[in-house]
């Protein structure tokens, strides 16, 4: 007991030294507190939001994997040689509805419950209009054309293996194969299996912040077989379409067979305020119908064109039809060609419309989403395929994680800063302890000569260091708590600004092999940078909670123990007789 009393007295009688130690620990603890509150806030922000977030995700063939496979097969790095092989592999491995349904039914480990909460899908066709004109803003197109003309014709890219390869840019490809891109239809006819699928996959809704809203007419019944559609109200801005209204019909035509037409009744108009250009098509040119209708059109187109294809199978048009399919496949990020319409070489020669299947899995939590990613690999392996063949991506998670990126950067910086501060702090404290003990050598010798055991002597020094450290830690926690908000706000704002300027220069984040950029795929897929909501300091409570206090306490004890043990090592080495004999 008297040890504590004299330790405390010793602190008050050696104020200068203890204030110096206190200031050092105070700086360390303030910095540590700020760093830890940033770490804590980043973890909380991510965990709280992701915990109850419904996540929609897509299952796709990994284009990076396909690229590598194509390289292996062809032994070439030239994209023009690789593309046919890549398209062939994509066709081989792409999943249709039946294939997706298998993955939909994967169970949670040790449970009969399915990992996937809901599964939505659509199918799309590239088609032209005969009595309806596609939405086209000439000014925008001209500006885009000018920009494209000025752009370099060859782009340096990094393949997934890290090799730099040259890839022709879009205009260059167009110059080489002008016919290919011309053959895609003016419109995308997209058939959803339900309105819920439209909500999840296209952002339909009635809320103010919904990306797409029905503005006139009534939505058709889920998966109806009636030839009805919903069109974008912007289409009516075109002169040729001005007279169209809800209840009228529009006529669509196969771009490769002008005699093949389909009439759909306009059930409703919708407004798309997302600004998205998903699937490479202007949103105004997306015509929505039911999944059954698209499949019916595809089926009819197949039978129509199979009966007429023999006469023209070796003509120039057959090449055009192949390229049309290729272009459509390339444009759809999450699609797979329907293999039911045709197969083998006859598929390449047919003028039949070919739909692209697109599935979206919805998960109740991030844990389920992550589990699904693992199960996909396991299933691929058990089916005798490479575990990297399929990838699961989620723009929800990718967008959310992108929003957290500044905070994550800050967290990473804070962690490095924390370790650095602790390391430097510990070294400084050890040095001070050594100097202090050498100064107090005489005191140690006198106390030992008076019969104070080295254990008690060590405890006395440890109590001194511990008391000073803990008091400084406490003050540091208060100071750190107060400082964490302005400091973090400042640092986070700088990070957000930097991120926004990076995004502005890069534009939409792309999946690999799409329109340039680095071919390394973001972990959770592509996201639209314009939709990213960055976490800012006002959204997060940078308060110092009990967990941070406990961590601070642990750090304090650790620092005290480090410096205290250094003192103890010296105390144990000292012989009182020698200390007292060599007092000078």
């Amino acid at each position: 007991m008297f040890i504590i009393k004299y330790a405390l007295k010793s602190i008050s009688r050696s104020l200068g030294r203890n204030i110096l130690i206190g200031i050092i620990v105070l700086i360390i603890s303030t910095a540590a507190c700020v760093a830890m509150s940033i770490q804590q806030a980043a973890e909380k922000a991510a965990a709280n939001t992701l915990k109850d977030m419904n996540i929609s995700a897509q299952l796709n063939v990994d284009r990076g994997y396909i690229y590598n496979k194509a390289q292996e097969k062809t032994g070439s790095q030239d994209m023009n040689e690789l593309m046919p092989e890549m398209n062939s592999l994509m066709k081989e491995y792409s999943l249709d509805l039946d294939g997706m349904e298998e993955y939909k039914n994967i169970k949670k480990p040790g449970s009969s419950e399915s990992i996937v909460k809901t599964f939505y899908y659509n199918s799309s066709l590239s088609i032209n209009g005969s009595d309806i004109e596609k939405y086209d803003l000439t000014a925008t197109t001209e500006a885009a054309t000018e920009a494209a003309t000025e752009a370099p014709t060859v782009q340096k890219m990094t393949d997934p293996a890290g090799n730099e390869v040259e890839m022709p840019t879009a205009p260059q490809m167009q110059q080489q194969e002008p016919e290919q891109l011309e053959k895609a239809g003016d419109f995308d006819l997209v058939g959803y299996n339900s309105y819920a699928a439209m909500e999840v996959m296209a952002g339909f809704g009635t809320d103010d912040d919904a990306a797409c809203k029905i503005t006139d007419g009534t939505m058709f019944e889920d998966n109806t077989s009636e030839y009805v559609c919903v069109i974008n109200e912007d289409l009516l801005k075109m002169d040729a379409n001005k007279d169209k209204k809800v209840g009228d019909s529009i006529e669509l035509v196969n771009p490769k067979n002008e005699d093949e037409t389909y009439s759909l009744k306009i059930a409703a108009l919708y407004k798309d305020s997302s600004g998205s250009t998903a699937m490479g098509t202007d949103p105004a040119n997306i015509i929505i119908t039911s999944y059954s209708v698209v499949k019916d059109i595809e089926s009819k187109s197949e039978s129509t064109n199979n009966s007429t294809s023999s006469s023209s199978s070796n003509s120039k048009d057959s090449t055009k039809s192949t390229t049309a399919t290729t272009a459509a496949t390339t444009a759809a990020t999450t699609s797979s060609s329907s293999s039911s319409s045709s197969s083998g070489s006859s598929d390449e020669e047919s003028n039949a419309l070919v739909s692209q299947f697109n599935g979206t899995f919805v998960f109740g939590s991030v844990a389920d989403y992550e589990q699904f990613k693992e199960e996909i690999k396991t299933k691929a392996k058990s089916d005798g395929m490479d575990e990297d063949l399929y990838i699961v991506t989620s723009s929800d998670v990718a967008t959310f994680k992108a929003g957290l990126k500044p905070l994550e950067n800050l967290k990473s910086f804070a962690t490095t800063f924390l370790y650095l501060t602790l390391a430097i702090g510990a070294i400084v404290l050890i040095v001070i302890s050594v100097i202090s003990i050498r100064d107090r050598k005489y005191e140690i010798g006198a106390l030992a000569a008076m019969g104070l055991k080295k254990l008690k002597l060590s405890m006395m020094f440890m109590i001194e260091v511990l008391t000073v450290t803990l008091v400084a830690i406490l003050i540091g926690a208060i100071a750190g708590s107060a400082a964490s908000v302005p400091v973090t706000s400042y640092l986070l704002s700088a990070q957000v600004e930097q991120q926004q300027s990076e995004n502005a220069s890069v534009g939409k984040q792309q999946a690999p092999g799409m329109q340039g950029g680095n071919m390394e795929r973001p972990e959770d897929g592509e996201y639209d940078a314009s939709k990213v909501e960055y976490v800012n300091a006002d959204d997060i409570g940078f308060s110092v909670d009990m967990f941070v206090i406990l961590k601070m306490l642990a750090i304090g004890i650790m620092l005290a123990v480090v410096s205290g043990f250094t003192s103890i090592l010296f105390i144990l080495r000292y012989d009182p007789k020698q200390i007292l004999a060599n007092r000078d």
Binding site: F2, Y6, K9, S10, R13, S14, Y442, E443, G445, A446, L447, A449, M450, G451, L452, K453, P576, K577, L580, A581, R583
Partner: protein, 226 residues
Amino acid sequence: MSVIELKNVSFAYPNNPVIRNLDYAFEAGRVYAITGKSGSGKTTLLSMLSGIMDPTSGYITYNGYPIEESDKYVYRSRSVGVIFQEYNLLPKFTVRENIMLSLDISGKKLSELTYYKTKREYIDSLIYEVGLNPEEIGNRRILRISGGQQQRIAIARALSFQPGVILADEPTGNLDIDTSIDIMNVFIHLAHELNRCVIIVTHSPQIANMADVRLDLQPFSKYTNV
């Protein structure tokens, strides 16, 4: 009756034997003055008696028990009071705190030592006993009192837990002659009135002559009882 006894004690520093086969018995109620030339082993002998150093051969007994076998820290804190040449007081503590620290380290209860009710009263009585005014200097830091006063406080500290033996290394070395005589009188009082065994090491013949027994230590352990 002997309180502390040397039994064939030898001590050697590496390649330098200092004390060889020394036998002697120190008794309670007497003041011993150990004199001798530099290097004769006076301070070494005192260090062995205080338990800070061990003999290289032979042994020392306290009240008949070899001190090597007991806990040296307990021996130092409860049985011998050591007054060092440089006093070895702790400068950052006050006079009272220095004495109380020694009392606390000994672990002895106040009731074992005195009829005073509080430690403060007891400590003040010790300060008074060595000829100082506790009200005047009790709360002063050590560096704020004179060398003579520091020496007296070192004695009061050594007396605080009432050890059977008091060892003093050159207790008057830094003091003027009048103060030295005053200090010696304190030691004589402790031995004669309180029946303590007081052993001092000194260079001063005048101080040595005030002791009851004067031991002149010769190199290699011969001593002359003067």
